[in-house]
């Protein structure tokens, strides 16, 4: 079996996995069968992806189809294999998790639907990554977008869910519209819908600029780059948690894949492409994490962190593009390797965080962080896994988030040292921006972990929370292991990453040592191990002291108040208040605070909330204006069937006369 055959088998298996469940009357059997087929398919797909990454070979297959869009090919190369790895790994984990989180016994009305579309979504993504023809790519893209819509609207009896799903559907189709334009332009440039070989198109033409802009719009909408992210927070928050994990971990990465793949077709890339992507990355990263700090909804908060991490990935791509413009291969290697590794890393730790958040929501029945508290006692494993994910997403060693951000940092610094001219100014701006993103992420996750898992319960539900079942914990454990594995032994990723960068840009040599020479990955291992030993030593010391000395239990000192209550703890809003105020210029928080004038004020309420500012202050006013101004046009849509047919009739006659 070659890698390509494995991938094709995996695509077919995952696509068909949900079909038996549609017809089986025994829903539990259906769900288990679907999960088994999907996991098996994912394993086969993983084997294919890993084989490709190991060998570094590209395999191209022709498909005999009768559609009038030229020849059709699908192909597996190391660049695609990185994304296939993400698709199959996260899909398998989420499917297993779903059997505990969305069991058939509790959800007989929706379970067959959700398992069917989940398999279809996985297959569509894998097909998307292997498609080498623009039309096939768009077909897979649409299947992906629509099956995701049906997954997202699983709980469509809730108004919030319907609203989020509609917003998603509108934005995804706007993105598709842009991609239609992009692939038409690409067909014009390449002469066929077949993707041209990497680096074969000249980027210094107006047509190439058109392709770049439409690709950035279309793929940026899917990836959630600011300011095109408006669909993302509500969609991630309102989907079932394993779907949120899959969307955040994999779906938005398909936007990144499309961008990377379309950029790979060009050579002679102008400098402003790289600077544009880099600046958009910085904006998404900083604004994403700033919005995240202001959220009280656990899943919405994680969703904004997705935007932040997409920003970091875009920064890596920007560095690689700048490297290509100035002819610096080290920049290309480090930037692209960092971006691709961050794709993989973000998929693992964000899926881990969403799955853990799902377990918490399952246990407490709420997404409000301010109603949780003290969960680490009742859900120790979930809390530990969430902590692993939180440390990873903050980019702290010894976990995987650090490695990819480190590669981008090294890329930025080597660019600042090695280059002159315009690029340096932007690269020099990026390093502190990346540091700011990391710092704010730490603050945000201290808030989440501290408020949700530490302290004492703030509400009844949190007090009665229970640990998640084993099928939910096992995928989390696997993802946490991957996070730690990549974090401590990043060298094992050097070869695959270098291969992927080579297939992105053939000018870069396909050797692992080049990457390890450019970035000291070996030192990361040593430092990580030292760090773990130190932390273990300190922990052992304190545990020893706890055992040796007498321990008394009491409440935390409450500044002298005699009857401390759980409501006196720091809340999510109060913890974040300082930072939210600092960023008030972009966040526009809604604050309702009581006016306390008398010396002894009566009962009062305080509430603060950070809305989706871009949607409320930019897009909605513009759309409302368009709605008012275009009212005249709406007369065309009057409901008169005859006149609709008349439109067609008149068009036909006019065309006939015109041809005449």
């Amino acid at each position: 079996m070659t890698a390509g055959n494995l991938i094709i088998a995996a695509i077919l298996m995952t696509a068909l996995s949900g079909i038996p469940a549609l017809f089986l009357r025994n829903r539990t059997l259906g769900q288990n069968l679907a999960t088994a087929i999907l996991v098996l398919g994912s394993l086969i797909g993983l084997a294919g992806a890993i084989t490709t990454l190991g060998s570094g070979r590209t395999e191209i297959y022709g498909i005999a189809w009768s559609l009038p869009f030229g020849p059709c090919e699908i192909g597996v190369d190391p660049l695609g294999a990185i994304f296939l790895l993400v698709v199959f790994a996260i899909s398998g984990c989420c499917a297993v998790y779903a059997t505990g989180y969305w069991p058939a016994a509790d959800n007989p009305a929706t379970v067959h639907r959700i398992t069917f579309f989940f398999g279809l979504l996985t297959a569509a993504m894998a097909l998307l990554v292997t498609a080498r023809n623009g039309v096939l790519f768009l077909m897979a893209w649409e299947v992906m977008a629509l099956s995701c819509y049906f997954l997202l609207s699983t709980e469509d009896e809730k108004a919030d869910v319907r609203e989020a799903a509609t917003l998603y559907l509108i934005t995804t189709h706007l993105g598709t519209l842009s991609l239609f334009a992009m692939f038409s332009l690409l067909q014009g440039a390449a002469g066929s819908f077949l993707f041209p070989p990497a680096g074969s198109l000249n980027a210094a033409t107006p047509l190439a600029t058109g392709i770049f802009v439409t690709a950035l719009l279309g793929f940026g909408l899917k990836a959630g780059l600011m300011p095109l992210h408006i669909w993302l927070p509500s969609a991630h928050a309102n989907a079932p948690s394993h779907i949120s994990a899959f969307m955040s971990g994999v779906l938005i990465k398909m936007g990144i894949y499309g961008l990377v793949r379309s950029l790979s077709l060009f050579h002679n890339i102008p400098l402003w492409w790289g600077i544009t992507v880099l600046v958009i990355g910085i904006i998404s990263g900083v604004a994403g994490v700033a919005f995240a700090i202001g959220q009280h909804d656990l899943k919405r908060l994680l969703a904004y962190h997705s935007i932040e991490n997409i920003g970091i990935i875009a920064m890596g791509i920007g560095v690689a593009l700048i490297g290509q413009a100035v002819g610096n291969t080290i920049l290309i290697l480090l930037g692209m390797a960092g971006a691709l590794l961050h794709v993989l890393n973000h998929a693992t730790f964000k899926a881990l965080l969403f799955l853990a958040a799902g377990a918490v929501i399952h246990a407490t029945g709420t997404r409000e962080i301010d109603l949780m508290g003290g969960l680490a006692r009742r859900m120790p494993y979930t809390a530990a896994f969430f902590l692993v994910g939180a440390v990873a997403i903050c980019g702290l060693p010894p976990l995987n988030g650090f490695v990819s951000e480190f590669l981008i940092y090294v890329g930025l610094f080597s660019g600042i040292l090695g280059e002159g001219g315009t690029a340096v100014a932007f690269l020099a701006l990026s390093a502190p921006a990346l540091a700011l993103i990391g710092g704010l992420a730490v603050a945000c996750f201290i808030k989440v972990y501290g408020v949700a898992f530490l302290g004492v319960p703030r509400a009844e539900e949190a007090a009665h929370g229970h640990e998640a079942v084993r099928v939910m914990l096992a995928p989390m454990a696997l993802l946490a292991t991957i996070c730690m594995g990549i974090g401590i032994f990043p060298r094992m990723m050097a070869g695959p990453l270098a291969g992927a960068v080579h297939s992105w840009q053939p000018a870069v040599g396909m050797t692992g040592p080049a990457l390890t020479a450019a970035a000291p990955l070996g030192w990361i291992t040593i430092m990580g191990l030292v760090q773990i030993c130190l932390a273990g030593g300190v922990a052992a010391h304190f545990i020893g002291r706890l055992k040796a000395e007498p321990v008394s239990a009491g409440v935390t000192w409450g500044c002298g108040y005699l009857r401390p209550t759980p409501r006196m703890q720091y809340t999510a809003s109060s913890f974040a208040e300082l930072l939210v105020k600092t960023f008030a210029g972009i966040l526009h928080p809604h604050v309702t605070s009581p006016a306390m004038k008398e010396p002894l004020p009566g009962p009062a309420r305080f509430a603060s909330h950070v809305p989706e500012t871009m949607l409320e202050h930019v897009f909605m006013p513009v759309l409302r204006l368009a709605n008012d101004r275009l009212a005249q046009l709406r007369r065309l849509q009057h409901g008169q069937l005859h006149l609709y047919i008349l439109y067609t009739f008149v068009t036909l006659v006019v065309l006939l006369i015109w041809a005449y």
Binding site: Q637, G639, L641, H642, I645, T648, F649, L652, V653
Partner: protein, 212 residues
Amino acid sequence: MSSFADQLLVLVMLINFAVLGSSRIALAIRAVAAQGVVLGLLPWLIHPFSWHLLAIMVGIILAKGLLIPWLLTGAVRKAEIRRETEPFVGYVTTLIIGALLTAFAFVFAEKLPLAPAHQGLLFVPASVATVLTGFLVLTTRRKAITQVIGYLVLENGIFIFGLLLTEAMPVMVEAGALLDLLVGIFVMGIIINHISREFSSIDTSRLTTLKE
């Protein structure tokens, strides 16, 4: 032989006018049925005989001449309507527009870059004229049932063009087209029933209440 085919095509175009000018729905249905039968005979005149061709002809005559008219007559009887009482555009006016469109079809067909073998034939103008007539019926008539008749005329026009294009039509293509039509008629029949139950009339202009 082709001169006889031309005469049949003239008949087809005359039937177009019968559909346009009649207010009685039963007459319009019969006219379309006759048009279908004439069209069913045409392949025999322009292609050499084969069993495959015979099967197609029999199929077309059965479907267009018997089955569909029978279904439509049933729908008319159920909905209890005999006449298209108040069309959007009067009968005389539609007849004049129809005549103008037929003339236009002839002028247009002259200009088409056709294969030399098809140059002098009436197929293309008859086809375009019939399609345009179908559209005219669709836009000017109010009742759902006359709309169905409009679609039938439209399809007949497309069929004439199809005769020209394919030397020997594959059975599958022809069967597919017929099946499409039949399903279309069924759907329309169901819609007619629903419209008449919902609005207690089958006036399609009432459908505006369904718009957003």
